[in-house]
Amino acid sequence: VKIENVIDLNNAIKENSEKVFSIKSDFIQQKNLSMLEETLESTGNFLYKKENMVKWHYSSPFEYTIVVANGKFQINNEGKISEFDLNSNEMFRQINSMIVTAISGNFINNPNFKVEFYENNEFYKAKLIPKETVVADMLSAISIFFDKDNFNVQKVKFLEPGEDFTLITFINRKQNTDVKLKDFNIN
C-alpha cells in the first residue's frame, strides 16, 4: 500500500541511518531472469563502514571480492587483483553510490532519486526511481525493504528495465560492531 504522508517515516529512516556507523552481514543474492524463468543464486558476506567503505565477499558460486574504499574500486577475482580509480569510471561510481545509498538507508533528500514509500505487514518499502540517465539505463528502480520495528535494511531489490531484478537479502546482520580498516583489505 502506498504511504502518502511520509514525513514521520522519512524522519525515522533518516534518524536510523545517521546512527549506522558499520554493518556486518551475510547475504543471499538472487538474480532473477524472468523471461528465461531462471534464478541464479550467490552467497557471501558484506561489510560497510561509514562514510563510503564497502566490501562484498562472494563465497559461492565462486570466490570474488569487491572493495570500495578511499576513492578506489578493487576486485579480487580468484587471486587476480585489479584496481580502478572510482572517479575514472562513471558506471562503477554510480553503482557504488547506489549500493551505499541503498544499504545505509541514506537516501532522504538525495537529488538523484525520486522516492515513493509503501508498506505491508512486514516491511516498509522505499522505491527509489533514478533520475540520472546513466543509472536509469541500467536500473528502473531500487526497492529498499526496512524492518518495521527497527528500520534496518533487510532486503534490497535492484529492478532492471524489463522484468529482471537482483534481490539481495541480508541475514545475520550486525550493526555498529567493531569493523576495522584492515577488514577492507582486498587480499
Binding site: 538474480k31 531472469l33 528465461l36 550467490s42 569487491i66 532492471e160 524489463g162 529482471d164
Partner: protein, 219 residues
C-alpha cells in the same frame, strides 16, 4: 630440347600450384590432407538435448575487462539466449538467436549502452551464432584428416564467410571463421562433460574481443 623446356615448365607450374595450395591453407590445417572417406554427417557444440549451462566468464573488449556470469540457455521455442551479468547481478547483455546457421534471427533483448557501439554487438552475435549452429556436412564442405585420423577438419568451400571446424572423435575442439566485415574469430572448446563444453574461448583480434568461459554448473 623442346621436351626439356616442357619438363621445366611443368616443374615450374607444379611448383607454383603446390606453393599456392600450401600458402592458401591456413596454419591450422596445414598438417591435414584431404580425405573424402570421412563419414561425419553433422557437427555441433551444444548437443540436441542441451538446455542450459552457466559459465564464469571474462570479457575483454578494446582493452577493458569485465567479469561475471554467462548463462547460455536454449528455450522451449529453440532460441539460444546468451545473458552476461556481473557478479553483483548487473546485466551487461541479453542476446537471443533463433534459427542459428546461415540465416539466423538476432534479437537484442538488452545491451548496456556503453557496449552498444561499433561492431561489438555484431561480433558477439556472429560468434554466438557459430557456437549455436548445428552444421550438416554436405557437398559444401571439404573434409581433411591428419596422420592417424585422430583430428579431423571440415571446411566450407567457396564462401566469403568461411568456417572451419576441427574435431576429435566428432566433438568440436576449434572453430575458425572469417568474414569480410567481422575479421577472423577463433573459438576454442574443450573438456566436454555430458555433451556440454566446460571451457569456451572466443578470440576476435580485429575488434579486440576476447571471451573466456569456464563452466560453473551443468544441468
Amino acid at each position: 630440347m623442346n621436351s626439356l623446356k616442357l619438363t621445366k615448365l611443368n616443374l615450374l607450374l607444379a611448383g607454383i600450384i603446390a606453393f599456392s595450395l600450401i600458402s592458401c591453407s591456413p596454419s591450422y590445417i596445414q598438417n591435414f590432407t584431404k580425405n573424402e572417406n570421412l563419414n561425419i554427417k553433422s557437427l555441433n557444440v551444444f548437443y540436441h538435448t542441451f538446455t542450459k549451462a552457466v559459465y564464469k566468464t571474462t570479457l575483454k573488449v578494446m582493452g577493458r575487462e569485465m567479469s561475471g556470469i554467462l548463462l547460455i540457455k536454449k528455450t522451449n521455442n529453440q532460441e539460444f539466449r546468451f545473458v552476461f551479468m556481473s557478479e553483483i547481478g548487473l546485466k551487461y547483455f541479453d542476446l537471443g538467436i533463433t534459427n542459428p546457421g546461415k540465416n539466423p534471427d538476432y534479437k537484442n533483448y538488452y545491451l548496456m549502452s556503453v557496449f552498444n557501439r561499433g561492431e561489438f554487438k555484431k561480433v558477439l552475435f556472429d560468434n554466438f551464432n557459430t557456437l549455436s549452429t548445428e552444421i550438416e556436412i554436405d557437398s559444401n564442405f571439404t573434409s581433411y584428416s591428419n596422420l592417424g585420423n585422430k583430428s579431423l577438419a571440415v571446411r566450407e568451400n567457396n564462401t566469403k564467410e568461411k568456417t572451419t571446424y576441427l574435431t576429435i572423435n566428432e566433438t568440436v575442439e576449434n572453430i575458425y571463421w572469417k568474414s569480410p566485415y567481422a575479421g577472423k574469430s577463433n573459438i576454442s572448446i574443450s573438456k566436454y562433460e555430458n555433451n556440454i563444453p566446460q571451457n569456451i574461448e572466443i578470440n576476435n583480434k580485429k575488434y579486440g574481443v576476447k571471451i573466456i568461459c569456464k563452466q560453473l554448473e551443468k544441468k
